[in-house]
């Protein structure tokens, strides 16, 4: 049975030994693989074969991992359901008939279906955590700057990180150990040994994360932002509290916190992401890559025609809205205010995390949507990102771990948020649930 997990199923072998030897790691199709086509889910790149590896792919190979293929995704990462892919939707192995979440839906579905041991996704506004939650697996969005973005096809640079998806917290942490390291080719990465702690680097690992998955939450203080529960569906909220009860029974305690800024996180996120996308995707001009043009008109006409052909509707929508938000007369109204909101969200989270070890929320306010349900109403799809986007705005790490199921048997994820470079803390807390 195929879930349409892969866009390209082609085995890329790794070194013969290493920490991931004998294991398969599916890679999202916006992460460059030398000699193996990398489409980002778009017709624009249907025939694009990168001449180089992303840093994370180099690191996977050195660690001995085998890459079984490139996974399906929303076009350029723009979607919450993996339905905007040019290569058709992916089925949710944990909830047939429902979407796997997005945009890294193929990666989460590959792990859930056992088609790969582990997977890499990218998370700009929830694209690792959402599909992990919807497919009943674990996903980590690292602190901004922990993992190199070199070779990641950019959607919104200031927000995105590559992150691991795995069946268990410990395995997700093991994969994070392989990909997390400063990289000269991505100036937004940096060493963070002082904040992360743990054991010394070795040949393959800059940081230790997996040994933090010891399930010990005795004395852990959890903050629960009420704003992130307000909009959630009842079945999701019940499952969330069951998970909190479980953590409490293992020695954690919780208190509620107010984060008024997060009421504006979704709109701030979309303004910033669309603005960055409108600039990033300007590179798709049909000259360096893209469909073969016929060159009848001048540069501007050909450019606009190639982009009409090569981009799907959601991508056009976001490029246009981003162009609008940055255009003369609107920049201060939208983009500048969104940056204010981003700074406010960051302050709010820093404040809440000074009085709690982690913050907790449902990863998604809704269970997996039925397939085909959300395509005609983009605003409703955007609002489903209410709980994940604030974390990208604040540059913080977060993990989604299975919390249980709704009464209808649909997977629900618990999101645990940590301070910057607090990956070990969220990994430890999440491991108590598995």
């Amino acid at each position: 049975m195929s879930h349409n997990v892969y866009i390209t199923e082609e085995m890329i072998p790794g070194d013969t030994d290493g920490l991931l030897a004998g294991r398969t790691v599916a890679v999202k199709d916006n992460i460059s693989t030398a000699g193996v086509r990398t489409t980002a889910g778009s017709a624009m790149l249907a025939d694009y074969v990168p001449p180089y590896d992303a840093t994370v792919v180099e690191r996977l190979k050195e660690a001995g991992a085998t890459i079984p293929g490139k996974t399906n995704m929303d076009e350029f990462g723009m979607g919450t359901t993996t339905e905007t892919s040019h290569f058709g939707p992916t089925e949710n192995p944990a909830a047939e008939g429902h979407v796997p979440g997005g945009s890294s839906g193929g990666s989460a579905a590959a792990v859930a279906a056992g088609e790969a041991d582990l997977a890499l996704g990218s998370d700009t506004g929830g694209s690792v955590r959402c599909p992990a939650a919807f497919c009943g697996v674990v996903g980590i969005k690292p602190t901004y700057g922990l993992v190199s973005r070199y070779g990641l096809i950019a959607y919104a640079n200031s927000l995105e990180q590559i992150g691991p998806i795995a069946p268990t917290v410990e395995e997700a942490a093991e994969l994070l150990e392989i990909i997390a390291a400063p990289d000269d080719r991505d100036a937004t990465t940096r060493g963070a040994h002082a904040e992360i702690g743990g054991s010394e680097p070795d040949d393959m690992r800059e940081y230790a994360f997996a040994d933090a998955a010891d399930g010990d939450v005795d004395g852990l203080e959890i903050g629960i932002p009420t704003e992130l529960l307000d909009g959630a569906e009842e079945g999701v909220v019940e499952t969330f509290w069951d998970a909190i009860d479980e953590l409490e029974s293992e020695g954690a305690s919780y208190h509620e916190v107010d984060l008024p800024s997060v009421e504006h996180a979704v709109e701030a996120y979309y303004v910033i992401a669309m603005s960055e996308a409108s600039s990033n995707l300007a590179r798709f001009d049909g000259v360096r890559y893209g469909p073969t043009p016929e060159y009848e008109g001048n540069w501007n006409e050909e450019y606009a025609r190639i982009r009409e052909e090569g981009f799907g509707e959601e991508v056009k929508r976001r490029i246009l809205l981003g162009t609008y938000a940055l255009s003369a007369g609107y920049h201060d109204k939208y983009y500048k205010k969104a940056q204010d909101a981003r700074a406010w969200v960051k302050q709010d989270f820093d404040g809440a995390l000074s009085e709690a070890d982690v913050l907790a929320s449902p990863t998604m306010p809704v269970p997996p949507m039925e397939r085909g349900e959300s395509l005609d109403d983009p605003l409703t799809m955007y609002l489903a990102d209410a709980n994940t986007t604030p974390i990208n705005l604040a540059n913080l790490p977060a993990i989604s771990v299975p919390a249980g199921e709704t009464a209808d048997g649909l997977p629900v994820g618990l999101q645990l948020i940590g301070p910057a470079f607090g990956e070990r803390t969220i990994i430890r807390a999440a491991s108590a649930l598995s």
């Binding site: 180089y52 504006h264 709109e267 979309y270 540069w299 025609r305 982009r307 809205l321 109204k333 204010d340």
Partner: protein, 92 residues
């Protein structure tokens, strides 16, 4: 629900700036959807002015010649090239 009207001409103007052709149907649909989405974005008006904390530092390296992609590899994905250059449409 929205007071901000984004008429199809305005969508066309933005599409023009972004160099993306749209068909009539897309133009109509986008103008309806943009009205909803932009009126939602307008709630950003309620956000106070916030001074971002300066925690960023520049990352510099010496400006030295290093190896990079060779010309052939860089041209591999180009639909058309000539004498080692990308070939594009005429500019005007």
């Amino acid at each position: 629900m929205s007071e901000s009207v984004v008429d199809p001409d305005e969508v066309e103007h933005v599409a023009d700036l972004a160099r993306v052709n749209l068909d009539d149907e897309e133009r109509e649909r986008f103008s309806e959807q943009f009205a909803d989405i932009l009126s939602y974005f307008e709630t950003l008006d309620e956000v106070p002015e916030v001074e971002p904390e300066a925690e960023l530092t520049n990352v510099m390296r010496p400006d030295e010649v290093e190896s990079s992609l060779d010309q052939d590899a860089a041209l591999e994905n180009a639909p058309e090239s000539e004498d080692g250059f990308f070939k594009g449409p005429r500019v005007s």
